[in-house]
């Protein structure tokens, strides 16, 4: 079924774009490294592949004159979502190019900004590439060649967007999104109590809390010792 296929492709593309966005966030920060640049490259190549196939599929369907009206509405909705996602990807790629050029890894004169992010991002890249785990070893000057390629790919994506707009004309105002405002609250994504709690608490008040816990523990321990002594004395 063409609709399911397109939906699946779009979901995959959306996932890869979100992961790419998440990886680009850390470029120039303390987690920046050659490995990160390589993960970025793999992610964006996967994203581009998915984009090309989705684009081909959707264009073929939408240019078909003999499409039923309700099906057309459905496909136009997917088209609008896809082109928005592709815009997001292109903008992120452009920013990655700018940041990568501004924070070259091999030059010691421009230290990276110490942002506090220190962990590896291989999990995110693995999710993007739909593999279980990812182990990459990048050479010392990977980023230089990578930036040139990135520039070329940015232009390619720009061209793809232009071609898309030329081939299929979908006015944005005629498209009704299926999900209403606030729909994200109905399907509770496993937000996780951990993330809710952890964003709230900050470093403030740590030590008093620890002290209170220590006092309570000490009191309980003393009570237990006293009870044991009493029992020993009685018996």
């Amino acid at each position: 079924m063409a609709r399911e296929e397109c939906k699946a492709l779009l979901d995959g593309f959306n996932k890869t774009t979100a992961c790419y966005h998440h990886l680009v966030l850390t470029v120039g920060g303390s987690a920046d490294s050659q490995n990160l640049r390589q993960e970025l490259q793999k992610t964006r190549q996967k994203a581009q592949e998915l984009a090309v196939s989705t684009c081909a599929r959707l264009t073929a369907v939408l240019r078909d004159r003999g499409l039923a009206a309700d099906e057309r509405v459905e496909f136009e909705r997917l088209w609008v979502a896809f082109s928005g996602c592709l815009d997001l990807l292109e903008a992120d790629m452009r920013r990655a190019l700018e940041l990568g050029a501004a924070f070259p890894l091999h030059a010691p004169r421009r230290p990276l900004v110490r942002t506090g992010v220190a962990g590896a991002s291989s999990g995110v890249a693995a999710r993007a590439l739909s593999t279980r785990s990812l182990r990459l070893e990048a050479e010392g000057d990977f980023d230089v060649a990578d930036l040139r390629e990135l520039e070329r790919e940015v232009l390619q994506v720009g061209e793809m967007i232009d071609n898309m707009e030329m081939k299929v004309n979908v006015p944005r105002w005629t498209v009704q999104a299926r999900q209403a405002a606030g729909a994200e609250l109905l399907s509770t994504v496993n937000a996780g109590p951990s993330s809710v709690v952890s964003v709230e608490e900050r470093g403030g008040g740590c030590d008093p809390r620890k002290a209170l816990a220590a006092i309570l523990f000490g009191a309980v321990l003393l009570a237990a010792v006293a009870l044991a002594v009493c029992v020993a004395k009685l018996s």
Partner: protein, 477 residues
């Protein structure tokens, strides 16, 4: 992230320069030897590195920019310059507080701060896109199970109406970004969430907080330059062209420019109704429009201030209809009135209707430029040759050279003589200063103030003389 309008290729970088300077400061703070001292932040279980205290930041700024000994008192009283600089850095979101993220102020004590990642620097992502904000609010909605701040709820609803067609994309991206974030360890997740929150606090401040990114009207379009990895011949050609144009620009030293500015203000101060009040009275306050009547464009007796203004520059004299009429009289006495008539005819040609251009050019030629014409103007031979050549294909700017020549002639020759003439001195002596209307004792006037008639009503008898009074529009004290 939705991209803004694509920047035209080759346009030079026109960013807000204060942002580039701030970024340089932030990057120099990162130096492992000479940068700011970093500490670690301890939460219950996790330890997150790279935290700085406010006092460290202020001390580093004081040292780095050699803020003077006299200004610097003691470490517990940091100099106001360093404080201000640090506060500016925090307000623009380059450093964010960890304990109280909503208040972007720099406290010079032990409050911890952290640096913002370059992705969220204002220069990278400016202007902030609506789609991004929608995705951020959706993510926050999911994380906090619907408890957004009031202004955020309003923004959410407004965005939903504005970009409702893209709402599927918004929710899809929000969910996927949250899932992607789960793949990181907890400390990183926290830090990234804080960074994003700070970015949106700076770019979409809550109501009541001053927006640091506001610019005046007419500014704002800063096209980011494209990064060029492979520099082709085209790129270098554009750079050469840009440099050549930059060299050709006229530059004035700020000392000269500022002196001219001061003298302009000193000269015009007494003439400005806002700065030195207007006589007889401010029409907007006293409901008496004598001021406008007296300063109408064509009036028989100009006020003294107006006559004084004619002495400031030739342009002032020509722009005032009364002044121009008197100047024409003066030129008539000197038998050089044709200069001013020619100038006026050229102005009419420049600003007149396109259809009249050929006939007007012909008329001007016959009257002023043809050899043996009735009112022949004295133009030097080179300009005359050029003008006659251009007359073969007349357009509205064909007489520009000749007009400029005559204008400079009048300015250098006739105008100084006019200012020294008896006629002008007589005008100055005749012109009077209007009396100030007596202020009433009571603050309320007995005359009922009537509101101005609705524009829908046609004017009945008297034509309003207020139109075109020079000080009319800005008589608000």
């Amino acid at each position: 992230m939705a991209a803004g309008p694509a920047p035209p290729p080759g346009r030079p970088r026109a960013h807000m320069p204060h942002l580039t300077k701030m970024e340089r400061v932030v990057v120099s703070m990162q130096d492992p030897d000479q940068g700011v001292k970093m500490r670690s932040q301890r939460l219950l279980v996790t330890v997150i590195p790279h935290a700085v205290t406010g006092s460290d930041v202020v001390q580093w700024l004081t040292q780095k920019f050699c803020i003077s000994e006299e200004a610097r008192r003691s470490p517990s009283h940091p100099s106001p310059e360093a404080l201000h600089l640090g506060a500016v850095l925090v307000q623009h979101g380059y450093i964010y507080p960890l304990r109280d993220p909503r208040s972007l102020v720099l406290r010079p004590d032990e409050t911890p701060y952290r640096f913002q990642t370059p992705y969220f620097w204002t220069s990278t992502l400016w202007p902030a896109a609506e789609l991004d904000y929608a995705i951020y609010l959706a993510k926050k909605n999911i994380r906090k199970q619907g408890t957004l701040a009031d202004y955020e709820k309003e923004c959410y609803d407004r965005l939903h109406t504005k970009i409702s067609h893209a709402w599927d994309l918004v929710l899809m991206q929000a969910r996927e970004q949250l899932r992607a974030a789960k793949q990181r360890r907890k400390g990183d997740r926290l830090v990234i969430a804080c960074q994003e929150q700070t970015y949106w606090l700076v770019n979409r401040p809550p109501p009541g907080a001053p927006s640091v990114l506001e610019q005046g009207p007419g500014r704002g379009f800063c096209a980011a330059s494209r990064v060029h990895m492979t520099k082709s011949a085209d790129f270098y050609k554009q750079e050469i062209e840009y440099c050549r144009r930059a060299l050709g620009r006229t530059r004035v030293k700020s000392s000269v420019c500022l002196e001219a500015y001061l003298s302009f203000c000193g000269q015009r101060g007494p003439h400005d109704p806002l700065v030195s009040g207007c006589l007889p009275s401010n029409p907007w306050i006293s409901d008496n429009d004598a001021y406008w009547v007296m300063n109408a464009p064509t009036v028989a007796a100009p006020t003294k201030l107006r006559v004084e203004r004619w002495a400031f520059s030739f342009r002032e004299l020509l722009e005032d209809p009364v002044g121009r009429a008197h100047f024409m009289d003066f030129l008539g006495k000197e038998f050089s009135g044709e200069n001013l008539s020619f100038w006026e005819a050229c102005e009419e040609l420049r600003y007149g209707a396109q259809a009249q251009v050929p006939t007007l050019v012909d008329a001007v030629y016959q009257q002023f430029l043809a050899p043996g014409a009735a009112r022949w103007v004295n133009i030097d031979s080179r300009t005359m040759e050029r003008t006659l050549e251009g007359l073969r294909q007349p357009h509205r700017y064909v007489l520009d050279d000749a007009q400029l020549h005559i204008y400079m002639l009048m300015k250098k020759d006739s105008y100084p003589r006019f200012l020294k003439s008896d006629m002008y001195k007589g005008l100055l002596a005749e012109a009077g200063i209007p009396l100030e209307t007596k202020k009433r004792v009571f603050p309320f006037s007995w005359r009922p103030r009537h509101s101005s008639p609705s524009p829908a009503l046609l004017p009945t008898a008297v034509e309003p003389t207020a139109a075109g009074g020079p000080g009319g529009g800005d008589g608000v004290a």
